[in-house]
Amino acid sequence: MQDFSIRKFYGWFTALGLLVGVLVIVGYYRDEYRAWKDYQRRYIQEEIHRAATPQQRLLAERIPVEIRQTVLPDLHRVDRCTTCHLTVEDPSYGGYPQPLSYHPLHEQHPFERFGCTICHRGQGRATTTVEAHGNVAYWDEPMLPMQYIQASCGQCHEPADNPAAPELAQGEQVFENSGCRGCHKLGGSGGIIGPELDKVGARRSPDWLKKHFIDPASATPGSVMPPQKFPDTNLEAIVLFMLSQTGESASGYYSSMKNLPNTRLGQHLFQSRGCIGCHSVNGNGGKVGPALDDVGLRRAPEWMMQHFRDPQSVTPGSVMPRFGFTETEARALTDFLIHMREQAVALMLPSLMSPAERGREVFRKYGCAGCHGPGAKGGVPNPNSKTAEQVPGLLHVADGYTVPQLKARINTGQHEIPALDPKRPPPPLYMPGWAGTIKDAEVDDLAAYLISLKPKDENPGF
């Protein structure tokens, strides 16, 4: 007789059914419990506590516990930071401990247009502290330490003359003056020996960058980059500048805000709109309009702004046309003119400079100093090269080269550097061909500069 009782299955069904049930409950609890809900309840409690009238109290009690987010399609972001940081826009929470703290100084970058992670980085979509702050595996952009926060300005704004980001501007100066461009390409110009730096800020951490500047080979085995001996402030500044190079490209609304009015933009406009055709600086230029050398002393900025908007409104009978400058452009030009009296700025107008002076700028712009040393005096090590294991200085090129020879040398480069000892590894640094990168007119200027380097007091006919 077969046993038809299903009683023997009861135990198994009970055990396995309970197991599945318990797992569902555990799974539900783990899914339902989120730390951000605690933060929101704390905020609601605080609001209830603060309520002075029954109406306010009722409003506070009705604040929903829910995910809050800023959706930023043009920036490819969804920032849920305000799910925990609920009070970033409420000044009355100034000085509160995080996450319920107030974020000062956001008038120019309203949260609903910019969110949080475009400046602070981290993982905007995440809703747990660790994940959101981004110090987790497989997330490339952890939150930027506050000491480097100015790097974020450089993602959109020109670093120079941004009064809010002096360290960023300093970093750019260090970058341009240390000859980094000799080997590295940034923004489309620079050498090809080292990697491009356009997105380096998104890939590298501050610590890695620091280590890399102090001892490149320890951060990147086999690197031929010479160690950089920056003073501490310069090191921090150039790390900050590198961090600003994220390759972030924002369109629409954001690109129209890209240019802060600054003297560099002003100088660019001054040249490109042909101001020099009518006005003169340092005695060079047209005579139709007044000379502008000391215009910054004669005129108030407000006057100049109005003048750019409508010249006749402040100078009746003026023949200057209305150029249709935007407010930003007008402010940039004003900025430039205010500083015009400073000789250094005036000298930066290429049309007012001698070829050798322009050549010095070319030397700086393309980072020649990176290999040939500051002022082309040499001294950068190039192990196992015949020229005393250094990259040669260029002070005496006038003795060995004619101008056409020099230009040809710059354009074609020298890829095989003669080795001192054939058994050792070949010298790592070489001269790239610059044709196509440095424009022809610039090569002319550069050659003029290099020829001019020959010390004057030496006896040429020895």
Binding site: L16, G17, G27, I67, V78, R125, E131, G222, M225
Partner: protein, 428 residues
């Protein structure tokens, strides 16, 4: 009547007009009703009213085929739920993974269940094949069902592989890049095949669209069809394989002898080995409750295991796919790592010859090994040669997979996993 309350309620419900219209038979109390319960239910009628004792022996089948089926069911359910969120777009797919994790209720558990069930299904298909081999169950009359099984194995790999790309992270992107490159090594058609799969020369939006369509429509539909035929044939071939018993004379009707100008009832054409004409009725036991309840219990167990894994271990998700930053080493999904290891020695042998020969040998196996002995027993002594060859191949595959998984580091160099891997930095 002192039956428990749920049972009494059920009894009452199935006696009402509505209950009877749905279930036809209530909880069965007699042998007639036990048979009726099986035959009248759509879900149960796939199985016979009575099964052979042997089929219930857990130590024989280990329930591997059924576990695979349950995993497939779990995958279908979780997969459809995931489809409510997923968009096969290179711009959105990765963000949706993050949203599943951070803002969708139970989204993470859902994705974890799908991921772990998928890995388990590949594993259990393989284990099921091993069981069938070691018990000689592919022999006559089940030859073609084995071939269908090989086909289902390939469909399962295809389902897992196409699903691998969908999160659009670095892991997905480079595993598919490596996996499709292996296909590209095939002579003549390799490059074309790769192009057909990817809709281009590299993994991009077209590849994602194709993999998505294959993953949610083409391959699941194919799998459902093949699983149906596979199960149908299990039933038609007489249930699970078992040893021939003395006295069980197979009464084979020679269909060629029958007049062809009359119509026949089902029972007249039924094959000799089907249970209902088995010679030893005392070996047959009623499917209700003995088979059905065991199957239900196994489903609960599989669900519990998948839930457990999904609650406590998260499915991997790396950085968003980046075509210019390959990880080093880039690895294929685990079930292809044995092949990738072979490819590292020889692309042609590892990528083409070995997998081609293996699949062909597996498909032709029941037609080459035709002797009908050792069926229905594990590691039958009569089958020692076949079992040894299979075991050696299996061991090699396992060793290669383990090497590819754990012992290969940057540039596919040998590493020992218990030592700290050297820091990987990008060279200039």
């Amino acid at each position: 009547m002192n039956a428990p309350l749920p049972k009494r309620l059920w009894h009452w419900f199935t006696r009402t007009g509505v209950g009877r219209s749905i279930f036809r038979v209530g909880l069965p109390d007699s042998n007639l009703e036990r048979s009726q319960a099986m035959v009248s239910s759509f879900l149960l009628h796939v199985q016979p009213a009575k099964v052979h004792r042997h089929a219930l022996r857990a130590s024989y089948s280990l329930g591997l085929g059924l576990i695979t089926l349950y995993l497939f069911v779990i995958l279908c359910v979780t997969g459809v739920l995931l489809m409510f969120y997923y968009v096969p777009s290179t711009d959105k797919a990765y963000d949706i993974m993050k949203d599943l994790q951070f803002v969708v209720s139970a989204g993470l558990v859902l994705r974890n269940m799908h991921r772990w069930a998928a890995h388990l299904m590949v594993l259990f298909v393989m284990l099921h094949m091993c069981r069938v081999f070691y018990t000689g169950a592919y022999k006559s009359p089940r030859e073609f069902n084995w071939v269908l099984g090989v086909g289902l194995f390939l469909v399962t790999l295809g389902l897992s592989f196409t699903g691998y790309l969908l999160p659009w992270d670095q892991l997905a992107y480079w595993a598919i890049t490596v996996g499709t490159s292996i296909a590209g090594y095939a002579p003549v058609v390799g490059e074309k095949l790769k192009y057909l799969m990817l809709g281009g020369h590299v993994v991009g939006q077209d590849a994602l669209t194709r993999f998505y369509a294959l993953h949610v429509i083409v391959l699941p539909a194919l799998a459902v069809l093949m699983i149906s035929v596979h199960l149908f044939r299990v039933r038609k071939d007489g249930g699970l394989s078992r040893p021939d018993e003395p006295g069980e004379v197979v009464q084979q009707i020679d269909l060629g002898q029958l007049p062809t100008n009359k119509s026949y009832g089902l029972m007249e054409l039924a094959r000799g080995t089907t249970p209902q004409v088995g010679m030893n009725p005392e070996d047959e036991i009623f499917s209700w409750p003995h088979l059905v309840f065991r199957e239900l219990l196994l489903f609960l167990l599989v669900t519990a295991v998948v839930l457990f894994l999904a609650i406590f271990w998260n499915a991997p998700l790396e950085e968003i796919a980046n075509a210019v930053h390959p990880p080093n080493p880039a690895k294929a999904p685990w079930y292809f790592l044995g092949l990738q290891e072979l490819v590292s020695y020889s692309a042609f042998w590892g990528g083409v010859v070995v997998p081609g020969l293996l699949v062909t040998a597996l498909a032709l196996l029941p037609y080459t090994d035709r002797k009908r002995h050792g069926v229905g027993r594990w590691f039958a002594r009569e089958r020692v040669v076949a079992n040894t060859i299979f075991s050696v191949c299996l061991a090699i595959a396992v060793v290669l997979t383990v090497i590819g998984s754990f012992f290969r580091g940057p540039n596919w160099s040998w590493v020992e996993p218990w030592k700290n891997p050297p820091a990987v930095t990008e060279g200039h």
